[in-house]
């Protein structure tokens, strides 16, 4: 079973004028593969990622994630699916700034509601350890440094042990040292836990160390 299958997918923007963003995209990603999506700005790479994330549902084609047909599902089902199977890391940390670091990490698991609060907290603390943000867990998310915030965002993406981790330029906003750290983490997750990683990136160094690069130009895979 493939981690991800995209078949003949087209996407249009209608405002301000009709624009064919993604043209007949088809590709597959294996389990545990670490894939970078690259391309010039405007090439449609972020758009593609948001289709894969299940948040954008207005496209033609077919997307299957982890054996589950995503296309045509109700928004409610998709929300549930995202919660359980997809971890998302954004370019900007996008944490809930009023919440503590620990709460931010725990929220997706609390929403999933499959484990007790104590178990979730223990797992969150483990992730905090793993990502080297110990000591910050009871601070508000707005009170820690940018590098730390991005690591909290990664911890949040990992809490439900998703099959796929998606990143929209996850290191784009970090200095090279922090970026390297995060790349290493992703590398480890794909190797040790078999998690599939798909990251949109501009960073050639980042992409060079991935298993595969999918390059987009003018909405087509090159």
């Amino acid at each position: 079973m493939k981690a991800l299958q995209v078949q003949n997918t087209n996407k249009y923007f209608y405002t301000p004028t009709e624009f064919h963003v993604l043209k007949d995209i088809s590709f597959e990603v294996d389990k545990g593969e670490f894939v970078a999506i690259m391309g010039k700005s405007g090439s449609g790479k972020s758009t593609l990622l948001y289709l894969l994330s299940t948040m954008d549902t207005s496209y033609n084609g077919n997307i299957v994630i982890d054996g589950t047909q995503i296309t045509g599902q109700s928004k409610k089902n998709l929300a549930r699916f995202r919660n359980e199977h997809i971890g998302f890391v954004f370019q900007f940390h996008y944490l809930l700034t009023d919440f503590t670091v620990l709460d931010n990490i725990m929220l997706p698991a609390l929403k999933l509601n499959k484990k007790s609060k104590e178990e979730i907290e223990a797992e969150a603390l483990e992730l905090i350890d793993l990502l080297d943000i110990k000591g910050q867990e009871h601070k508000k998310a707005s009170r820690i440094s940018g590098g730390q915030q991005q690591r909290v965002a990664i911890a949040r993406a990992l809490i439900n042990s998703p099959a796929i981790i998606m990143g929209d330029e996850p290191t784009g906003n970090l200095d090279s040292k922090n970026a390297e750290n995060i790349f290493d983490l992703f590398r480890r997750f794909s190797k040790e836990r078999g998690q599939t990683i798909i990251a949109v990136t501009h960073d050639d160094d980042f992409a060079a160390n991935c298993d595969r690069i999918i390059e987009l130009a003018d909405g087509r895979i090159v």
């Binding site: 972020s46 948001y50 994330s53 948040m55 954008d56 928004k75 409610k76 929300a79 549930r80 699916f81 995202r82 919660n83 359980e84 998302f88 954004f90 900007f92 996008y94 944490l95 809930l96 009023d98 919440f99 709460d103 929220l107 997706p108 609390l110 929403k111 999933l112 509601n113 949040r156 929209d168």
Partner: protein, 411 residues
């Protein structure tokens, strides 16, 4: 606490100032609702108390029909019958046998009191001053039951009328006009020319000046004797019912039991009925307007909150919270504000009412503005408050749930 409730808690406590402003706006609306309605209720009660201190809810009396029977009827088509200046003849006066009627009324459960009265216009003399007065022969116990007469006695004691057959109680205005005070003697003279000396055993003040200037009370048996009437004679039967607003319907059910006229209070006092209705409309219109304005306040605050939280909503969405969760998160905030504001409003409304109630305000018989503390007003205020905050919160929450997370997250 569910996850959504935890999020609500964090969102609410993160903006204490906004929370306080929203709660205050609801509190103000609800407290004004409580105050306005307590006040109008008080005015209505005061008005009906005054009115019913001299008027019963239903009155039974012998009505003089205004339509005289034709004396001669026309027999042939070409005959012309002309009777000019036809006169009414009253064959019976008053109610001959009140005991029979009273027995019939026993089965009607809504009736809370029946008092027979014998009313007659008489002259009162005190030396040279002579004045027209309305003499009421009353059954003291029943009279007090229906009108609370004993409360209005300024001097003396209502039940002294039962103890001496020459005792009389005068309205304060009347006593002043003829210049008598407690224990003075006066002479009553009936239209038939009968005179009797009475001793003033008390004075009464109801607040209705015209009544206080003309009313004199004696025991009903004394009045019967004075007017040469039989033992169960009376001119009026005054009936009180449990709910005065239903008097019309109850009067209709009494009417078949007697040939006399049964008149509910509404028949002669439509102005009071409509006055009460108008005051209630004003109170509800004013307070609902205030509540709706408070509702707009919440709507504004919640819309602002949603706008502020667009990013958070998108993040929650990306993490797997669905639109139902988003609606719940924002609606719960409004409901919490409505609940808190509602309780604060009830307390604050009660405080305002008590302050106004205790502020001296001299107006006629009033020492302060009348105020009722009716649990129903409080319950309604709270209910309206919750409904309005619910609506005002639902619209922004719905909008929040429809935001497209992709638009927000892509920047």
């Amino acid at each position: 606490m569910t996850t959504n409730q935890k999020i609500v808690q964090v969102f609410l406590t993160a903006r204490i100032k906004q929370l306080v402003a929203a709660v205050l706006s609801v509190m103000f609306g609800i407290s004004m609702y409580v105050f306005m309605n307590s006040f109008m209720d008080g005015v209505n009660t005061f008005q009906s108390d005054i009115t019913f201190s001299a008027m019963s809810h239903i009155k039974i009396y012998n009505e003089l029909k205004g339509d005289p029977r034709a004396i001669i009827t026309r027999n042939k088509a070409d005959e012309l019958v002309l009777v000019s200046n036809a006169k009414n003849i009253r064959y019976t006066e008053g109610i001959k046998n009140i005991d029979e009627i009273k027995k019939g009324l026993k089965d009607i459960n809504e009736i809370t009191g029946i008092a027979a009265q014998l009313n007659q216009n008489v002259f009162i003399r005190n030396g040279v001053s002579k004045i027209n007065a309305n003499l009421s022969g009353i059954e003291t116990q029943e009279e007090n039951n229906v009108f609370g007469t004993a409360e209005n006695i300024v001097q003396g004691n209502l039940y002294d009328l039962d103890k001496r057959n020459n005792g009389i109680i005068l309205g304060t205005g009347l006593a002043e006009i003829i210049g008598v005070s407690l224990n003075d003697n006066i002479t009553i003279q009936t239209s038939d020319g009968v005179s009797k000396v009475f001793k003033v055993v008390g004075t009464i003040e109801t607040g209705a000046a015209s009544l206080d200037r003309s009313r004199a009370l004696v025991n009903i048996d004394v009045a019967r004797q004075l007017l040469n009437k039989n033992k169960s004679y009376a001119t009026d039967l005054m009936i009180d019912v449990d709910e005065y607003k239903n008097a019309t319907d109850i009067a209709k059910s009494i009417q078949p039991l007697t040939q006399y006229k049964v008149e509910p209070w509404q028949e002669g006092n439509a102005q009071m009925d409509s006055g009460e209705l108008l005051r209630n409309i004003i109170a509800i219109a004013t307070s609902l307007t205030i509540l709706i304005v408070a509702g707009f306040g919440i709507y504004n605050i919640m819309t602002m909150t949603v706008n502020e939280k667009i990013k958070e909503i998108a993040i929650l969405n990306a993490m797997g919270f669905n639109s139902k969760d988003i609606i719940e998160i924002f609606l719960l905030q409004s409901i919490f504000i409505g609940f808190l504001g509602g309780i604060a409003g009830l307390v604050f409304g009660n405080i305002i009412s008590r302050i106004i109630d205790n502020t001296p305000f001299q107006l006629g018989l009033l020492d302060s503005l009348p105020m009722n503390y009716n649990p129903q007003d409080y319950a309604l205020a709270f209910l309206f408050g919750l409904v309005i905050t619910f609506i005002a919160g639902y619209l922004p929450a719905l909008r929040a749930s429809k935001l497209d997370p992709v638009d927000t997250l892509r920047g």
